[in-house]
């Protein structure tokens, strides 16, 4: 006989979370898994197909190109937004009335709904009536983001940088604010140059928040949909068809549920894998 008191009431407290996670994550995901291994011709008839769709997606030229574009886009915006965000955070005032002014200005783009950002930039960049488009064309630059792939990419990148650099700025600024004055004082006494202060004090102390910033920016940019959808719709041609746009075309445009479900899962696993890689690499030497 066990003398342990059996108290099963604990399960009741866990139940809400179990239900929540089940309904918003596990069950929808399982539905996708279900679709990804079956074929349907409508009428709610399904035929088991095994890993056919996965093979098809993984071998499709279209998926490779979308993935390539996606990696390129994420790579470009990370390379711009992280250094730029850190630079802006370093340039921001540390005390006084301007702190609030800067913080509010920085937070502004983050508060605008994503499709509004897309619409704003669409109108802003229109070659005939948009301020940016008109100006560039008047300066003699042949700019039309609905026709030229390079112009479309440039606009897309500029929009994302405008929209999301603030996030990096705010995180980096928080990291900088947490550095005690004594470090700066010690550095001045040690005769450290501005670069040495950045390299040996500010950067190491910002490492944690920058890890978060890079992870967030990676995940968000890798899954970006709304803004490019509103701005270019994936065009011209397929030049700005990123993974999520391609997925929606496949799932809702062509209604290929099986391949779309398989692609969703592959997409999900890629995000998970790269996030894990980033995180492991960046926190590697913190274990001790």
């Amino acid at each position: 006989m066990s003398t342990k008191v059996e108290n099963q009431k604990g399960w009741l407290f866990v139940l809400p979370v179990v239900l929540l996670v089940a309904f918003n994550a596990v069950i929808p995901l399982m539905t996708v898994v279900n679709y990804s291994v079956q074929e349907t011709f409508g009428n709610n008839e399904f035929f088991f197909e095994g890993v056919t769709w996965f093979e098809q997606v993984l071998h499709s030229e279209r998926f490779h190109q979308a993935l390539g574009r996606q990696l390129l886009f994420t790579g470009i915006i990370l390379l711009i937004e992280v250094p730029l965000g850190v630079a802006i955070a370093l340039a921001m005032p540390r005390k006084g009335i301007w702190v609030s002014v800067c913080l509010v200005l920085m937070a502004m783009p983050l508060l605008i709904p994503w499709n509004v950002v897309g619409a704003m930039w669409n109108i802003f960049a229109l070659p005939d009536i948009g301020l940016l488009g008109r100006m560039l064309n008047n300066m003699g630059i042949d700019y039309n983001f609905t026709r030229g792939p390079i112009a479309a990419w440039a606009t897309l990148v500029a929009m994302d940088v405008w929209h999301w650099t603030s996030l990096v700025v705010l995180l980096a600024y928080a990291g900088l604010s947490a550095i005690p004055d004594a470090y700066y004082q010690a550095a001045r006494i040690d005769g450290a140059s501005a670069w040495a202060v950045f390299r040996h004090i500010q950067l190491p102390k910002m490492k944690r928040v920058l890890t978060i910033a890079i992870l967030l920016r990676f995940m968000d940019s890798f899954m970006i949909y709304t803004e490019p959808f509103v701005l270019t719709g994936g065009g011209p041609g397929n030049s700005t068809t990123l993974l999520s746009i391609d997925l929606v075309k496949l799932a809702l445009g062509q209604f290929d549920l099986g391949p779309a479900a398989a692609m969703s899962l592959i997409y999900f696993l890629i995000v998970l894998l790269i996030s894990w890689l980033f995180y492991t690499l960046m926190t590697r030497d913190e274990a001790t």
């Binding site: 005690p180 004594a182 470090y183 004082q185 010690a186 001045r188 006494i189 040690d190 005769g191 450290a192 140059s193 040495a196 040996h200 004090i201 190491p204 102390k205 001790t288």
Partner: protein
């Protein structure tokens, strides 16, 4: 290396200071001898750190001058002044090894690598850090990190003064003692001027040859530990230093004697010409508990009531009350181990050469 002089220093953190209360430092003239071991002692908020930051150049004083030798450095930056400072919380460069941390100030000053190497090894040996030179500084314990902070000051041969801003705050009690002895030893070996800021009298009195006591933005006394103990210039020094602190009893004057409730008490010395009390001035008799004792049988003393005695190891601290009712004033005295403590009413005697008269807080003799 040179002597440091502070002339007519005042500092306020406000843009337009109007009254004395706006000043974190109120008029200060001080001189620090080359090679001295000083302690700057005072409670939190008395202006110690402000003074330290003015000497190091992290702050520019509102008024007055800072001189290193004969050179006016009031406007000079910290690295131009050749000073070193150890902060309350250890500051190390986390990403660097212990070796690189120690070499950092020298590399910034572009010394030849061979010279850097020999300096770093010499200082590491002094601080017992040799075995850890290759380790990452971030992985050291608090006392190890504090040693690195100190080491970064010691490696430079051109340092005028090393300043410590409550450096033992985050150190474990049993290591405080070790590190404090180390500091004392380093002072003797290097002969550098050291200024040690603390609010802990034990730290100040064990480290320093001369202790500077600050209170409300001014220096109330600078002297050897013995001077501070035997002849506090200000009542603040009296009760801030010593445990328990000095007894202070309100009194009146009657000729060369002080009168406490009709009882006459002799005090040490005669009132200075410049310290004659104005009418309405606050007069107090100050006497340390060490110099108060119970009267012998035939002796006449001050009548007191014994309240309680607390054992403090080699002696007992006895609380007594002098006077009656609302006018009763507390008084403490020390009775050596084994000494008798009367119960109820008793009489106490003050050692006359250790009894001082204070006018408005300042010693009058």
């Amino acid at each position: 290396m040179s002597r440091i002089r502070l002339e007519a220093l005042r500092h306020s953190y406000l843009a337009r200071p109007s009254s004395d209360a706006d000043y974190a430092l109120r008029r200060l003239d001080l001189e620090w001898r080359d090679g001295g071991a000083y302690a700057l002692l005072g409670p939190s908020g008395c202006g110690k750190t402000t003074l330290l930051n003015i000497i190091s150049g992290l702050l520019r004083p509102t008024e007055g001058r800072v001189l290193f030798g004969d050179e006016d450095v009031t406007g000079a930056t910290p690295d131009a002044r050749n000073i070193a400072q150890v902060f309350q919380f250890p500051v190390v460069y986390d990403t660097m090894s212990v070796y690189d941390n120690l070499a950092f100030p020298l590399r910034n000053r572009r010394l030849p690598p061979a010279q850097i190497d020999s300096r770093v090894r010499e200082i590491a040996a002094m601080l017992d850090l040799e075995a850890m030179l290759g380790q990452r500084a971030a992985n050291l314990t608090a006392d190890g990190k504090q040693k690195i902070s100190l080491g970064r000051g010691l490696v430079r041969s051109d340092v005028n003064v090393i300043m410590f801003d409550e450096p033992l705050t985050v150190i474990d009690p049993h290591l405080k003692w070790v590190l404090r002895s180390k500091l004392k030893e380093l002072h003797q070996r290097t002969g550098r001027t050291m200024i040690y800021v603390t609010h802990d009298q034990t730290e100040a009195l064990t480290f320093a040859d001369e202790v500077v006591v600050m209170h409300e933005g001014q220096v109330v006394q600078a002297g050897t530990p013995v001077e501070l103990f035997e002849r506090p210039r200000h009542t603040f020094v009296g009760y801030f230093i010593g445990s328990p602190g000095m007894n202070l009893l309100a009194c009146e004057l009657e000729g060369d004697l002080a009168r406490l409730n009709g009882h006459r008490i002799a005090y040490d010395g005669a009132i200075r010409a410049d310290a004659q009390p104005a009418s309405g001035a606050r007069l107090e008799i100050g006497i340390r508990p060490e110099f108060v004792r119970f009267a012998r049988r035939e002796e006449a003393g001050l009548p007191v009531r014994v309240l309680r005695a607390v054992d403090a190891g080699r002696f007992r601290v006895v609380d007594v009350a002098f006077g009656d009712g609302d006018g009763a004033q507390p008084l403490k005295l020390l009775v050596p181990e084994g000494g008798a403590i009367p119960a109820g009413d008793a009489q106490v005697v003050f050692e006359p050469t250790r009894t001082h008269l204070y006018v408005d807080g300042w010693i009058a003799t």
